[in-house]
Amino acid sequence: MSPLSREEKQPSPVIKSEKWPNERKILEAAQNGNQEAFGVLVRSYQKKLFRFVYGILGNFDSAEDIVQEAFIKAWQAIKTFRPGHDFYPWLATIARNLTYNWIRREEKKESLDKLTEKGFNPESVELGPFENLLDKEGSKKLYQAIQALPLEYRTVFVLRQFEQMSYEQIASYLKIPPGTVDSRLYRARQLLMESLKDIL
């Protein structure tokens, strides 16, 4: 399942070198057991993966564990990776599977009533060590606002906005109707736009 919609294919962030001029060569080397090549893939994609996982979990240590676990699993299964395909969607699927059970557990604890009970208070959100990974003005406010969203809204927002998954892909992953994806995303965007209007 590719997380990239047909309209939004992103340029590859892979760190190219003379030794490995493109991702395909890097993957071939990694599939032949070259750990250095796999290290290039780790450095190319770890930030993007971390952003997605942290965006959903909101917990720095858990996000680090899942990112690490995802790469290790990817290495263990690298020989099964089909040549000719993009590496990141496959890696992201592994990370999503690791995140999935966490989402289901947390959904039972948290509810959309969080908004009515506690209101939407991004300023009260503590980002912890994650704050050290942000250097742009406005980034802290953005992530505080994302973390202030109820989990149901946050999940669809992160999957759409960070991973560019289609509504159907999100619906399939979260096992909800596409109409629910639409309504949650709409509401998440409303809340975030209102909260971030100073920096937009």
């Binding site: 290495w75 980034s139 906005q161 965007r189 975030l192």
Partner: protein
């Protein structure tokens, strides 16, 4: 359609997530409405800003993380999921089965050659016992659909032996050649129990929990009475493979007086569909759609009960859901085509429900 309808659609329009007809409708509205155009532009700018601000720096931290990952993969025996244990457990079973077979053959040969007085029954018992030990891990289980009802997170991780046993059962015997293949299969959902044995090991759930889970799944869907919800829940309990013998409390406690025997789920939906179609004809809904009408005279009573309370739109909406359920459950292609036909006509008639009906149609056509 009023202005707020289109404003609500702009988020999905921006993502190109609407049905083609709706995209066209919104586009035409945008040509005329400056407020919506402005809002759409705002949404676009918002998306762009998210991209700019969401990137991470922290190069030092990520270099350390990358090194940590590289160290982990460089450790030769490390396995995230205990594939090596699978390998050794599988090997142990194979060795013990081989040893048992050798012992058996040796014993039989010894007795035959030296004519010790052992009856054939004793030998066959020994034979079965020797072979049954590994076979225990291949025990057949009912194929419950617990996952559908109460999700992965509720199921506790099965005992390690059984999880590995499930993999042994499902996969080819583990060899060094296919260990990587197996490891790729476990990456899919590491913490999820796998296979039939894992489902068997899921914690027992009371009938009240299962019923309420099924109700949560179906509640809110138009057209389902409380009695239907309850019977759907109880039917799902049965269809998940929990028989009366295994869970005697299921279906017994708090049984609905209305339902005296379990009816297959598809038939329930078909019966509901037929009732609504009769009602549709009576109060002038969309009109009869070509379908396999069962023509059961007993439906007339149920129709009469519902006639007073529902408008044509309500009936059609209920029918849309019911046709979707029938279409998904049936193996009859004619019936599925009828479901698709109904939903297509419904979608054209009631455009406000278009995206949901579109989702139904996509699922039916797959």
């Amino acid at each position: 359609m009023d202005h707020s309808y289109f404003k609500d659609k702009l988020s999905a329009y921006l993502d190109s997530a609407l049905e083609p007809q709706e995209m066209e409708l919104v586009k035409r509205h945008l040509d005329k409405c400056s407020e919506c155009r402005e809002h759409l532009e705002k949404l676009g700018r918002f998306g762009q800003k998210i991209k700019e601000l969401s990137g991470l720096s922290g190069d030092d931290y990520f270099e350390k993380l990358a090194s940590k990952i590289e160290r982990s993969i460089a450790e030769p025996q490390r396995r995230v999921v205990d594939i090596s244990r699978t390998h050794w457990q599988s090997l142990w079973w194979k060795v013990s089965a081989t040893a048992a077979s050798i012992l058996l053959v040796g014993t039989v040969s010894y007795y035959q050659w030296f004519r010790v007085d052992t009856s054939p029954a004793d030998i066959s018992t020994e034979s079965k016992r020797a072979q049954s030990a590994p076979a225990q891990i291949y025990k057949d289980t009912a194929p419950p659909l617990r996952e559908e009802l109460f999700g992965d997170a509720d199921a506790k991780p099965p005992p390690e032996v059984n999880r590995q046993a499930a993999k042994v059962r499902r996969e080819a015997p583990v060899t060094s050649a296919n260990e990587e293949v197996l490891s790729s299969k476990v990456v899919e959902r590491e913490d999820e129990p796998v296979g039939d044995i894992a489902k068997l090991n899921a914690p027992p759930v009371s009938d009240a929990q299962l019923r309420s889970q099924a109700k949560v799944k179906y509640e809110g869907k138009e057209g389902l009475s409380a009695g239907a919800l309850d019977s759907v829940g109880r039917r799902e309990i049965t269809e998940t493979g929990i028989t009366m013998a295994e869970q005697p409390s299921v279906l017994a406690d708090g049984a609905d007086d209305e339902i005296t025997e379990v009816i297959p789920l598809l038939e329930q939906w078909q019966a509901r569909r037929d009732t609504l179609q009769q009602l549709q004809s009576a109060i002038g809904g969309m009109g009869e759609i070509a379908a396999d009408n069962r023509g059961q005279k007993m439906l007339a009573d149920r129709v009469a009960k519902e006639q007073d309370s529902q408008t044509a739109y309500q009936v059609d909406s209920n029918l849309a859901l019911v046709w979707f359920q029938v279409g998904m459950l049936t193996s009859d292609t004619t019936e599925r085509k009828a479901a698709i036909q109904f939903l297509t006509e419904y979608q054209n008639r009631y455009k406000t429900d278009s995206s949901i009906i579109g989702s139904y149609l996509r699922q039916l056509r797959n």
